[in-house]
Symmetry: D2
Subunit: 178 residues, 4 copies
């Protein structure tokens, strides 16, 4: 099983990255930090005459990566009770590439399994729930299985290492992906 | 009452913009389309030694605008069951400017009233609810009153003009702001 | 269009009842106050050998009423951030009657339209959202259209008469049902 | 630490009961099955002249039990995407006893810790989230710490024994309570 970990954090070595790396450790995987790529926001041209225009950024390599992996692992810190801005721009651009006939994204996504890692403060196990629900609607829309999620406790770097439940869950997912 | 309408759409003359303009019509107001500005994603340096660094983009003029108005009207289409990427980047940057001593944003936000306009397809009145909950957590965090919200039905340009309930609500808000 | 209004309140002449009566006024309708009926909690025998047993209470007349009407209007005050206990017992018993071959409830529900009225304090427009989501899942499960909902502001008797938005919405629904 | 497990199921030996019993095993605890008690629905008399009237049922012994324990463990199957009807009636009656001067419930609840166990089908890890949010609002209202929750997978009797994550979490809570 090939795992693509998409990191939403804008900080290096943060808590969501820590969990993501535990989860993919020793598996056949690719890790991409979205903040390291150039990803433009969507320009919503769904209802314009010519439709979407080509965009000169790094998005197309992400489309290829998604197509080549079996599991999509979305790891984001809870920023203002949602996914990070760079991850949001990543999803927004699906609107464009689901319609782009040079790719097969729409069909391919239906074969993937989605896993979600969210990290935040102690209130995140409640206040991240709208985000979990949003992810659920996203995956439902593209008909991709939402296999599981976890909400880890960690704000300052390293705090996540005290969240036994999150670490155990990471270990279980890791075993599954091996 | 001075109203600042912040538009999240990446399309001109869309449904959320239509409602926002009805709401502010004839009031003392400013309309800003976030997609027209250069807004960088947050670089999360909360836990770095030197803290945040200055960013060379258009954000500081937004901070000033927020401080100068009494009502903040957030208008966004439902993109992937959340606010648009540009609006998310806008909120993420609050983390930086709430700590920036050149401004008084943290204190000022507590005096504002927040209103939210979301537009989407017919399922939005259910599937936008996690986004409403997210807005609520955001406003709670900065101790700003979440005065009201509406979820309008409109995807293709102009569709919103058939949503009688949304138009009525826009009229009531408009009367309030005058 | 025949409207069945099911009232969940355990108080006479409360705010949710007030709205429900505005909504059905002048339509072909039946109003039932669930608290006036004898409705036992479900005894969950889905996985028992003999299945469910007959229950000696008033539930079967509710099954007949549901079958005979086109619109089901559920009106409940927000009690502890959910529907009232009597209304919850009402739904729980669906588990029994959806399987009861003397009735045609499962098939019939798919033809109805559901409308929901919730009333509560000023925080209800946010804190009733989990209940709206629960209603949505309920109606999805039985494949019944969730046509619309409203969250009115009113705790003490009569307060709802100040909620202009709720009254307007009630009027629109009323026109629809006539 | 004394643990009071309140079971909401209307079935004996179901999945939520199984988890609850694992959690309290070997601790100083009391288990109460709400469906075995006579609990009347609330009669909402908050705004009536004389206020609430005494009710001849088993509720007062529950008030005493809550006061005498440190941890309140609420275990309910997901019935129609909410807590069971008997558990809902249990909470509704708090409205009465928080005002009853013969008890000290309002003050006492602020000292307790709440834990929640929900069990349901495979979709419960998403579709139980509104219920988790409801529990959160309930505990916030009475100013009681919402320490943790779990959503276990099990519908038919015994299925929960395959949910490794739930069993592990039960073990961790059990260690905490000993």
């Amino acid at each position: 099983m090939k795992v693509l970990a998409l990191l939403g954090s804008t900080r290096k070595n943060g808590n969501s990255e820590f969990l993501a790396k535990k989860i993919v450790d020793g598996t056949d995987h690719t890790v991409v930090s979205l903040a390291d790529l150039h990803i433009e926001p969507i320009e919503d041209l769904r209802h314009s005459e010519g439709g979407f225009s080509p965009v000169d950024d790094d998005y197309e390599q992400l489309v290829q990566l998604m197509e080549e992996h079996d599991v999509l692992l979305f790891a984001t810190p809870l920023y203002w009770y949602g996914m990070s801005g760079p991850m949001k721009n990543f999803f927004d651009r699906w609107s464009q590439y689901l319609r782009d006939e040079r790719f097969n994204l729409k069909e391919e996504l239906t074969k993937k399994k989605a896993y979600v890692v969210i990290t935040g403060g102690s209130s995140a196990k409640i206040k991240a729930l709208p985000l979990v629900q949003q992810f659920n609607y996203i995956f439902e829309f593209v008909n991709m299985e939402f296999a599981d999620y976890m909400i880890g406790a960690g704000v300052k770097p390293g705090e996540i290492e005290n969240d036994v439940a999150a670490l155990e869950k990471a270990k279980r997912w890791n075993a599954l992906f091996k």
